[in-house]
Each structure stands twice: as structure tokens, then as C-alpha cells.
């Protein structure tokens, strides 16, 4: 009577078969998850609750999934100082005047938990994602030999927070024309004690020899 019976049964039983395979793989995955990430402490779990409470995923991505409107937060806790992250969460514009993230009313306690959660997720084994930028090194190389100051700039990872000619981070001020804004005394003093020159600055103390700081300052002064 039903000429399509064969293919109908293939649909029903085939579908159930693939669901069964999926269920087995899911069971195995769940068994493996605890070995692929650090232990989930109560603080980490509390941080995850804070993550959900403020609908962070409504703008950010995490593990690459989310809303693509703001940076991915999977590895943030490894890249930024935790104190900075806490201050940023409590009041983004105080920590970084250029921040577009709104102040959500996150308390100090909640910020601490959230950072613990972000620290946990940054240590999850994600099969190598996100990959290291393969063009990063060539893009930074200028045509000529690097000056001593440029080498120090790279070795201290200044570009993690600062931008030079469009390349680098946005956490600190853009340094493309810093040489026309600041003089030698200011720059050197600031390297040795950032907070004395810029109150509430999150810039860490530059730990380098006096000679290196001198060369870094020379380099900064060429940026006009």
C-alpha cells in the first residue's frame, strides 16, 4: 500500500541510530571533560553565575561562541593583569577611558568571582584554539634593522596594551605620536612610577635597566 515504506523506515530507524551514536559520544565526552580543565571550585562556579546574571554573552564571545560585538574572553585572564580586569568590570571607563562597555553595577565581590571564572576558562584545553597569529612576527618587522629601543619595546610586550601605527592593544594610550606629547623627563619618570604621573593608571612598572629605559625613551621621542 505504501510504496515509500522502505525509505520511511530508513528515516526513522536511521535517525534513531545516529542519535544513539551521538548519545554514546556524549557520554564519552562528559567522562573526559574533567581531565581537560582545572577543577571547578565554588568560586569559579559563582563566577559563572555572575557571567550568566549580566548576560555577558549578549556582547562577548567565550570559547568563540556568543554575540561577536565585543572581544572573545576565553584567554583574557592570561593576557591582562587580574587587578586591571577587576577594576574594568567594576567601572570600565575608569580603568580604560576609551572603553565602550557600559557600567553594569558589577560589585567588587562579583568582579573577583568573574575573574576566577575567566581564569578557569583560560586554562581549558581547547585543542589549540585560538591559534597564535602566524603573520604577527612578519607584520612587526620593519624593512630595516630594529633600533635598540624598538627591540626593548618588543621584548617588554608593550604592544599588548599600546598601539603603534595601528598595531597593538587598546588598553593603554596610542603611542604613534607620543613623542610630540611627552618629553624625556616625563617619559623616564613615568616608566619608573606610572601612578605618580597618571593617577589610577593600570600600567605596570617597567622593569628594565637604566640603560634600557634610556633607549626606550629615545625610541618614544622619535614617535612624532
Amino acid at each position: 500500500m505504501n510504496s515509500n515504506k522502505g525509505i520511511r523506515n530508513l528515516f526513522i530507524y536511521g535517525g534513531l541510530f545516529f542519535f544513539a551514536v551521538m548519545a554514546v559520544l556524549t557520554y564519552d565526552t562528559m567522562q573526559q571533560l574533567p581531565h581537560r580543565a582545572p577543577e571547578i571550585t565554588d568560586e569559579v562556579n559563582a563566577g559563572k553565575m555572575v557571567w550568566h546574571k549580566y548576560d555577558c554573552i549578549g556582547c562577548h564571545t567565550i570559547l568563540g561562541n556568543g554575540s561577536y560585538f565585543a572581544p572573545d574572553l576565553t584567554k583574557t585572564a592570561q593576557r591582562k593583569p587580574h587587578e586591571y580586569l577587576k577594576n574594568f568590570l567594576i567601572n570600565p571607563k575608569i580603568a580604560n577611558p576609551k572603553a565602550t562597555m557600559p557600567r553594569l553595577g558589577i560589585t567588587e565581590e562579583e568582579a573577583g568571582k568573574l575573574v576566577a571564572f575567566l581564569d578557569w576558562i583560560s586554562k581549558v584545553d581547547t585543542n589549540g584554539w585560538p591559534p597564535k597569529p602566524i603573520l604577527a612576527a612578519p607584520a612587526m618587522v620593519s624593512t630595516g634593522e630594529l633600533s635598540a629601543g624598538q627591540k626593548i619595546y618588543q621584548s617588554l610586550n608593550c604592544s599588548e596594551c599600546h598601539t603603534l601605527n595601528g598595531i597593538g592593544g587598546t588598553m593603554g594610550p596610542d603611542l604613534t605620536h607620543v613623542g610630540s606629547r611627552r618629553d624625556r623627563v616625563w617619559l623616564k619618570g613615568h616608566f619608573k612610577d606610572p601612578q605618580k604621573y597618571v593617577p589610577d593608571s593600570v600600567m605596570p612598572l617597567v622593569i628594565a635597566s637604566d640603560a634600557d629605559i634610556e633607549q626606550l625613551t629615545d625610541y618614544m621621542l622619535t614617535l612624532k
Partner: protein
């Protein structure tokens, strides 16, 4: 064109609700597009706007599917709906649940602290993309779905006339309801959280929803071109068969980088690469059927369904395939490439599906013989061309982001608010074009058959 059973009219309630939410989705979509250019543009932050944008979509597509089922099931069972009052109650339950959730989102948008944590989940927003609806709303939604399924199955049992189309449609809807459950429990691990979250998301849009779509396409091809049931059902089974065979394990393409074991790279890569195959069969089936049957009364319905199968293949198939292999996805995962794919796929696979079913069944519900279909064509082209360009601009932004952020190591914000700015501006302009198309459609929906 007239309906055979009076209770099929209930479909129109669901259609109207769907159409209004579609308009809301397009309006907030524009706000979100402008916020990519000026983040402080609106009183509500991006997260609230984006939540409304995607939740309105999920609900209106589901409402459209429910309306379609209320139309299809009585016709296939050759009897009135089991209980019309129950269908009405279920309709209002859906409306009340949706509007309360919406109000909750707005409230939270104005005062983030209002989202208190109760029993481990947010009172107004669960903070999980697409399934942000709080737990109490989940329960209402499932209750509504169960009442709906009860009504459909009781209708079938009245005459015990099972057809392939109706069985597949209800099978897809049962699968959809069951698969909402993995999104309803809390897990301490964010990895497990996303793992189960994809069970809902992926197995909906690349599983259950496609089964529903397969059944509805078969029904529409019969209605629109008078195709023969046996043939249409055979191809329908071939499609939904391959949808499940490729789509279920294709879930693995979401498990590459979220902290799950590496064997998913293989499973996800192989099976998700095959996911476009049933979509291609769908295109071939629709075009072949149309060519063989040339006396088409309802041109608008045919137009939309052809657009639907083609853009399902382009948006879901091709735009998905380009970044589904692990070697590519490693660089593109979490970039705007995904956003481009999502826009074109949802538009092609589901927006056009629901609009096709509306244009196929609405003339009969309203008892119209002939209607002016010029507005239907106008809205189709306005929306489709705009969506193609929305997808292309976002794809451009995604390529720039992949190269500059992922390959060269530039900062996310520097790329987004610097290099990609022109893409956002063009996207907003084409978004406005899409909104105009939507308005034309909404106007057509409300005036169809009611003007001379």
C-alpha cells in the same frame, strides 16, 4: 482557494503573531547594526537589543511552524481539529509567555541588577544565547508545545489517517520539543554548558527544524503545483533522512574548540561537510516538480518557496561549508564569518519557509480566489537583495577580522571599530533596505484579500 475545515483558520492567529514579531526583529536589527557604529546609540545596550533580535526570531519561526501545523494536520487527517478552544488557549499562552519574557529583557536592560539569581538561574534572563528565556518561561513554552502536540495527535487519532507528510511534520515537532530540554538544566562547567547548548541550537536548526521544513515543502509542492503525493513524499523522506544522517553528528563542528575531546574534529568535519547534500536535493526536488507542473495558481507562494530552497542551499549550505572544516574554522571560529552565515542561513532556510507557508495557505484561509501579488514580489526582492548584501558586508568584515586579528594579531577593538567600520555602515544601509521589504510584506499580510 478555500479551506476544507473551518478549524484550519486558527493558523491565522499564529501567522499574525509571527508577522508582528518578524517586524520587531527587523526593527531591533537596525538598532543593533547602528550600535556597531555608535555603541551608545540607544537607551538599551547591545546585549538587550541582540537578545530581542534573536529571541523574536526563534519565537516567530516557531509560531509560524505551529500555525502551519494547525493548517496541515486537519487537512491531512481529513477532519476538524480535535479542539479549537484548546488551540486558542495554547495560542494565548504562547503570546503571554513571549510578551512577559520580552518585558523582562527590557526591564533588565534598564536595570541589570533586576536579573536576580533564583534557584541557580536568572529571573529575567538566563544569560545563554538564543535560549535566554528564564526557567519559568521555559516551562510555559514547553507546556504550550505539549498542548499543541496533544491537539495535533488527537486530531490524527480521530480518523487514524496517517500520511507521510503529517507524520514527518509531527515527528519533527516532537523532536523539536524534546530537544528543548537539554537547554533547561544548569551545569557548573562552561564547557558542558556549551556542549548541551548546542544540542538545542544545532539539533534544532540543522535537525528538527529541517525535518519540519522538509514536510512543509512537500505539502506546499502538492498544494501549489498539484504534485503527486507518492513522489513528493519519497523525496521528502530522502531529504529528511539525509538531514538526520549528516546533521546529528554534524553537531561535532561546534565541538572543535570548546574544550571537548579532539575526536570531534574528525566527526564534525566529515559529517558537517555532508550537510549541504540534502539541501541540494531539496533544490533539485523543488525545481523538478515545478518544471513538470506548469499550471500555478498561487504565483507568490511558488516564488517564495523557490527562493527558500535556493537560499537554504546558499546560506546554510555554501556559507556553512566554507568554514566548517577544522583547518579553516581554527582561524574563523568566533569571527563575523559566523554572523554572515547565520544571517543568510536563517533568512533562506526559515524566514522564507514561513513566508512561503503563509503565502501558500493564507489565500485559502481568507477565502480569496485571486489577489494582487505585486507587493509579495516587491517585498521578496527588497528583502532578498538586502539580505544578500548584508551577508556579503558581514562576510567582508569577517575576512578582514580573520586576517588582521587572527593571522596578524591585531587587537579586536582596533579591527572592529577601525578597519571594519565601512562594512558596518553598509550593513546598516542594507539593513534599512531589509526593513523596508519587511514593512511591505507586513502591509501585504494585513491587506491580502481585504482590498479591492
Amino acid at each position: 482557494m478555500t479551506i476544507k475545515y473551518n478549524s484550519q483558520k486558527i493558523a491565522q492567529n499564529f501567522y499574525t503573531f509571527a508577522v508582528l514579531l518578524f517586524l520587531l526583529q527587523a526593527v531591533v536589527g537596525i538598532i543593533a547594526a547602528i550600535q556597531f557604529i555608535w555603541p551608545d546609540f540607544f537607551i538599551l545596550n547591545f546585549n538587550t537589543i541582540r537578545t530581542i533580535h534573536i529571541n523574536a526570531m526563534v519565537v516567530w519561526l516557531l509560531a509560524g511552524m505551529m500555525g502551519a501545523a494547525y493548517y496541515v494536520v486537519p487537512e491531512e487527517s481529513e477532519t476538524e481539529l480535535w479542539s479549537e478552544p484548546l488551540a486558542k488557549i495554547q495560542f494565548y499562552l504562547t503570546v503571554v509567555a513571549t510578551l512577559s519574557v520580552l518585558l523582562g529583557y527590557v526591564w533588565m536592560g534598564l536595570d541589570p541588577q533586576a536579573n536576580k539569581t533564583v534557584f541557580g538561574a536568572g529571573l529575567l534572563n538566563e544569560g545563554r544565547e538564543y535560549i535566554e528565556a528564564p526557567r519559568w518561561a521555559d516551562i510555559l513554552i514547553v507546556a504550550s508545545l505539549l498542548l499543541f502536540l496533544l491537539n495535533c495527535f488527537m486530531t490524527v487519532l480521530k480518523t487514524r489517517k496517517w500520511t507521510g507528510i503529517q507524520g514527518t511534520l509531527l515527528g519533527g515537532l516532537v523532536m523539536l520539543t524534546v530537544l528543548y530540554i537539554p537547554g533547561m538544566f544548569y551545569t557548573r562547567s562552561m564547557v558542558a554548558d556549551q556542549y548541551w547548548w548546542w544540542w538545542v541550537l544545532h539539533l534544532w536548526v540543522e535537525g528538527a527544524w529541517e525535518v519540519v521544513a522538509g514536510a512543509l515543502i512537500a505539502f506546499m509542492l502538492m498544494k501549489l503545483v498539484g504534485a503527486e503525493r507518492g513522489v513528493v513524499e519519497k523525496w521528502m523522506y530522502a531529504e529528511v533522512c539525509l538531514v538526520l544522517f549528516t546533521g546529528i553528528l554534524g553537531t561535532g563542528h561546534h565541538y572543535y574548540w570548546i574544550g571537548t575531546p579532539p575526536y570531534w574534529l574528525w566527526i564534525g568535519g566529515v559529517f558537517s561537510s555532508l550537510e549541504p547534500v540534502p539541501l541540494l536535493i531539496m533544490v533539485w526536488d523543488a525545481l523538478r516538480t515545478t518544471r513538470e507542473n506548469r499550471n500555478i495558481e498561487n504565483r507568490a507562494g511558488m516564488y517564495y518557496i523557490t527562493g527558500h530552497v535556493i537560499f537554504t542551499f546558499v546560506g546554510a549550505g555554501i556559507w556553512g561549508l566554507i568554514h566548517t572544516l577544522p583547518a579553516v574554522n581554527k582561524w574563523t571560529h568566533g569571527t563575523q564569518i559566523t554572523t554572515a552565515h547565520a544571517h543568510l542561513a536563517f533568512y533562506g532556510a526559515y524566514v522564507l519557509l514561513i513566508l512561503s507557508i503563509i503565502y501558500t495557505t493564507l489565500p485559502a484561509i481568507r477565502g480569496i480566489k485571486v489577489y494582487n501579488d505585486s507587493r509579495a514580489f516587491k517585498s521578496f526582492w527588497l528583502m532578498t537583495i538586502s539580505m544578500i548584501f548584508i551577508a556579503l558586508t558581514i562576510t567582508g568584515a569577517g575576512i578582514v577580522q580573520t586576517i588582521m586579528e587572527r593571522l596578524m594579531g591585531l587587537d579586536y577593538i582596533a579591527v572592529k571599530s577601525g578597519y571594519n567600520m565601512w562594512f558596518w555602515i553598509f550593513r546598516a544601509i542594507f539593513g534599512a533596505g531589509f526593513l523596508i521589504g519587511t514593512v511591505v510584506f507586513v502591509k501585504d499580510y494585513f491587506s491580502l484579500g481585504k482590498e479591492q
